[in-house]
């Protein structure tokens, strides 16, 4: 059986991928979108007040608007599919997912970023058993409990602020001298009655039985056990770029792109938070997605001529 060769495959359906798909549809390309989810990080955002046209919209609502816009066109979306490998072989780009193999003449990687993991003992075992990467989602389940927030930047502050109202006591485990992030948020967290901050501290292990019941930290060189029923990991994000073979990346594993979204491999384009474009914003990701689609369109047109 010969496998279909698409003009374009878009990896990811966040703001960049969805916008690229709308542009690709309007250029009448034979393409498909492969993604684990729809909306990407935008769907997990709280209140959005800087996306032009909406003075105020929540993340899930904006993601839904994106999806509605996408559904105006006849776009083939392979949801819940995870790209494992992507490489160029001759003139064709091969994509392997957890479900199938695909081939395309061009690709736009718009796979965004995901939460960084701690890499300590107990993390995998207790995921969703007291350990979570989404305070917005799961926070309310920890009402009255003692919890730990791991991290010291804006996302950690965000999680801590949400938990101040819900949890019994909050330990913040921060590995630098003092908390970073937004000044206003930091002050609020520092002044809360039910917050204890451990600076210069690291998490060594997550302990528990059926659910998390403690963590071991190294506090200024000394090991210490804290009794907690919940652990919120908020140590930042990493790009979903590991599947891409042969692409140039910066030290943060972000894919290097030119102003017109080309990577170092002809035919492979990238857009949004997975790239080294400065500033990670929904509106920027969307704009980059449109640019990438137009670049891919031009690339395909030139290929056809030659």
């Amino acid at each position: 059986m010969t496998m279909q060769i698409y003009d374009l495959i878009i990896v990811g359906a966040g703001p960049a991928g969805i916008t690229a798909s709308v542009y690709a549809a309007r250029q009448k390309l034979n393409f498909l979108v492969i993604s684990l989810d729809i909306g990407g990080q935008a769907a997990w955002s709280g209140d959005i007040e800087n996306y032009t046209g909406y003075q105020f919209i929540t993340g899930p609502e904006l993601a839904k608007k994106f999806q509605e816009h996408m559904s105006k066109y006849d776009i083939v979306l392979k949801e819940n599919e995870n790209v494992i490998r992507l490489k160029k072989s001759g003139e064709i780009i091969l994509i392997e997912t957890n479900k199938a193999d695909y081939r395309a003449r061009s690709v736009i990687i718009a796979s965004g970023k995901k939460s960084k993991e701690l890499g300590v003992r107990g993390e995998v075992e207790f995921k969703n058993r007291g350990l979570t990467y989404c305070a917005t989602c799961d926070g309310p389940l920890f009402a009255g409990k003692e919890v730990a927030v791991i991290g010291g930047g804006n996302s950690a502050l965000d999680a801590a602020m949400q938990l101040v109202k819900i949890a019994g006591h909050i330990y913040i485990i921060n590995n630098t001298d003092r908390l970073g992030g937004d000044k206003v948020a930091r002050q609020k967290v520092e002044e809360a009655d039910n917050v204890t901050i451990y600076n210069n501290s690291q998490v060594l292990a997550i302990l528990g039985d059926k659910f998390v019941n403690a963590i071991i930290i190294k506090d200024k060189g000394k090991e210490k056990q804290l009794t907690v029923g919940g652990v919120f990991v908020e140590i930042g994000l990493i790009p979903n770029s590991a599947f891409a073979e042969g692409l140039q990346m910066n030290q943060n594993k972000e894919i290097k792109v030119t102003v017109d979204n080309r990577t170092n491999i002809p035919g492979i384009f990238a857009a949004g938070d997975v790239t080294d474009v400065p500033e990670k914003q929904i509106i920027i990701a969307a704009g980059e997605g449109s640019k990438a689609a137009l670049s891919a369109f031009r690339y395909l047109a030139l290929k056809k001529e030659s």
């Binding site: 729809i38 909306g39 769907a43 997990w44 709280g46 993340g59 899930p60 993601a63 839904k64 949801e79 819940n80 969703n128 058993r129 007291g130 979570t132 989404c134 917005t136 989602c137 799961d138 926070g139 309310p140 389940l141 920890f142 009402a143 059926k210 659910f211 919940g230």
Partner: protein, 78 residues
Amino acid sequence: MAKYVKVYSTPTCPWCIRVKDFLKENKIEFQNLDVAADQLAADEMVKKSNQMGVPVLDIDGQIIVGFDKEKIKLALGI
């Protein structure tokens, strides 16, 4: 016969919203339990699913964690 569907969710989690939209689109009636506001429901969810992530679906006693479209379809017979 219609199945009895319970959705354990929080108002803020995107997957909860998507799960409920999916059920509505397919005209499936369900009971929504807000585990942020209802502590008993939260305990029930943890006990049933052995974990603390939302959403959780209870379809005639079958427990599904997360928005697993295929599993949900299978359980609902749609």
